[in-house]
Amino acid sequence: MYRKYLLAVTTAVLTATGAAQAQETMKLGMVAELSGPGAPAGTNWRDGIKIAVEEINADGGILQNKVELIEYDTQTDPQVSRALVQKAIDEGAFAILGTIYSGSTMVNMLVAQQNSTPQFVGSEAPSIVEKGNPFVYRTSSGAQKGVPALTAYFTDTLKAKKVGVAWVNNEFGKGGRDVFVEEMKKAGIEVIADVASEQAQTDYAADVSKLKEANPEAVFVYMNQEESARFLIEAKKQALPMPLIGEVTLTEAKVIELAGAAAEGAIAHVGVTATATDVPGIGDFAKKFEETFKRKPTHDAIKGYVGAWTTKYVTELVGEADGEAFAEKMHGLCLKAADYPKILLDTCWDENGEMSRPSFMVQVKDGAPVVIDTVPAN
């Protein structure tokens, strides 16, 4: 009899403790490209989030709940990413952080939408925020905002009349290429070479040769990281003479590491860069990241970091873990860095989840991206 009492009391205490612990933990589902072609972007995204979660927990968590980060590897496969978003939600994730590749996000964001789960993505294809999904939010500007920010560089700085575009034939590349061509048309600049390549392509000899033959005054390069590096290596091999200008990826740390000297001189517009150490918060983040992971952070790391912190800020503004209320709060929201320092720069989200904030022009000099200009928020 006495034994039965002891067992019952022990079970009750353990159950109550477990329940209390469950209530005190808030799960974030990090669904990203940790292997496959998207691994460079995905691993940086994950590591930026890891730093944010550590800081958030040190800061008392979200609504006083400890944050638990659960990682899911999409293998850069859209269908796998869709299944994993569902799995993360089934396992109790309050918000989804990821994916980076637009082709994956296009597929998996419907799952988060159906479950009214907020989703911060690193993808930049314009189409993502054009689907009327109230639960998807960017962590950097989409190509339709980022690429137009480059137009002034082509018209005013380069004074170009004829340009070329080299792009990767996936959702990300097509989106950027279409916006670029449209922008150049508006600016009265002729696109005389339009060169598409495949994802995971290894040989760029023919692509560079076509650009060289067309001889534009500058080339807009819009590819993922490994492809950008291989393109730059081939461009150097064939001594492609014109400036190579990209949006975000072309001057990333990983691309510079892979391309080595071939990346020298490449120019890009970036939504946010770890080299903008003059900005309070970015320098601190870059330092902490480098100390933790022994490498420099990329813009994907900063995007992940901002996504995780925004989840905390907005949840606490709402006052509860409610996906619908979160979505309502996000639309038209502006967070000032003075009040929300971990957002790093003054940032707004519009009615579609598109992000707007100041950005930078950078150029690779002596093996590192250097800020050469600041572009106001558009």
Binding site: L34, A196, E198, D203, A206, D207, K212, I233, Q238, K254
Partner: protein
């Protein structure tokens, strides 16, 4: 005109490396009457041996290359023969083919697990400086790649045809039983073939990885293209593998430049179908016997 020359030279440089890998298919086919579907991974792995030697043991690049070559010969030559080919071959060629597929997956996933899923930079043995040849700008690296690959094929052909050991290897490939009766150490000759294959794979790895970047998945495309190159050229002839590799390298670049970039990946497969329909033994292959 300069663009055509540019494309031809770039295609030949890439194609010559495909040829090195394709020769490996031919050699293993002759020695073990099987197709090594891990051949692409055999080219992927040596670059990681070098990166480990440099990154974890602090060796300079050239000594690390030497370590990579020795390790490749041991792991992809000796161990592959002793642990996989020899025990499985008595159970039939098909069994060994399936085993090499499994080996390929094992090697790929091991590199991904124990090194990284991300691409890694790999230093070039030769300078990447561009030089002008009649308006076409190619890098010294490409020219050296081409010269080395062609040189290796010539040396290998001379070795097989002009030396006693080479002729013993030929005899083993053509008829192992008769070769043994005539006093040829068949097992040793087969081992030599595997060692040469491993060394060729390492060489191809050192030449192509600076361009492809070191990545666990590099063997997928490379293995497939080289396999097709070996069939197109003629699976039982080294010179066939050379012709097949160069042909695919050049046609790939010509197609991407003048026809379509979108369907360039389909070209080797189209070529394969055409060759199988019109000349099943391959462009340089012979329909009878085997020789290395």
């Amino acid at each position: 005109m300069s663009q055509l020359l540019q494309v031809l030279l770039s295609g030949l440089a890439t194609g010559s490396i495909y040829a090195l890998v394709a020769i490996g298919f031919t050699l293993v086919w002759q020695a073990a009457q099987t197709v090594n579907f891990a051949q692409g991974e055999f080219v992927m792995l040596p670059a990681f041996f070098v990166l480990v030697a440099m990154g974890y043991f602090g060796l300079p690049f050239l000594p690390a290359l030497l370590v990579g070559l020795v390790l490749s010969v041991l792991v992809l030559g000796v161990l592959f023969k002793k642990l996989i080919a020899e025990p499985i071959l008595p159970h039939g060629g098909i069994t060994l083919i399936i085993a090499t597929m499994a080996l390929g997956i094992f090697l790929k996933e091991s590199v991904k697990e124990f090194y990284s899923a991300e691409a890694q930079p790999f230093p070039s043995i030769f300078p990447n400086d561009p030089i002008d040849i009649f308006g076409a700008v190619v890098s010294l690296q490409d020219l050296f790649n081409l010269a080395i690959s062609l040189g290796v094929v010539v040396v290998l052909t001379l070795f097989l045809n002009r030396t006693r050991t080479g002729r013993c290897m030929q005899a083993t490939a053509q008829n192992p039983a008769v070769a043994e009766i005539l006093g040829v150490d068949v097992k040793r000759m087969i081992l030599y073939t595997f060692l040469i294959n491993a060394a060729l794979a390492a060489l191809a790895s050192f030449l192509i990885t600076p361009v492809y970047l070191a990545k666990f998945s590099n063997g997928e495309t490379l293995g497939l293209i080289a396999f097709i190159a070996a069939i197109v050229g003629g699976f039982n002839q080294i010179r066939g593998a050379l012709v097949g590799g160069l042909l695919i390298g050049v046609l790939d670049n010509l197609t991407a430049t003048y026809v379509t970039a979108q369907y360039r990946a389909a070209l080797p497969l189209v070529l394969l179908i055409v060759i199988i329909m019109l000349r099943p033994q391959g462009l340089m292959g012979t329909s009878e016997g085997r020789s290395v």
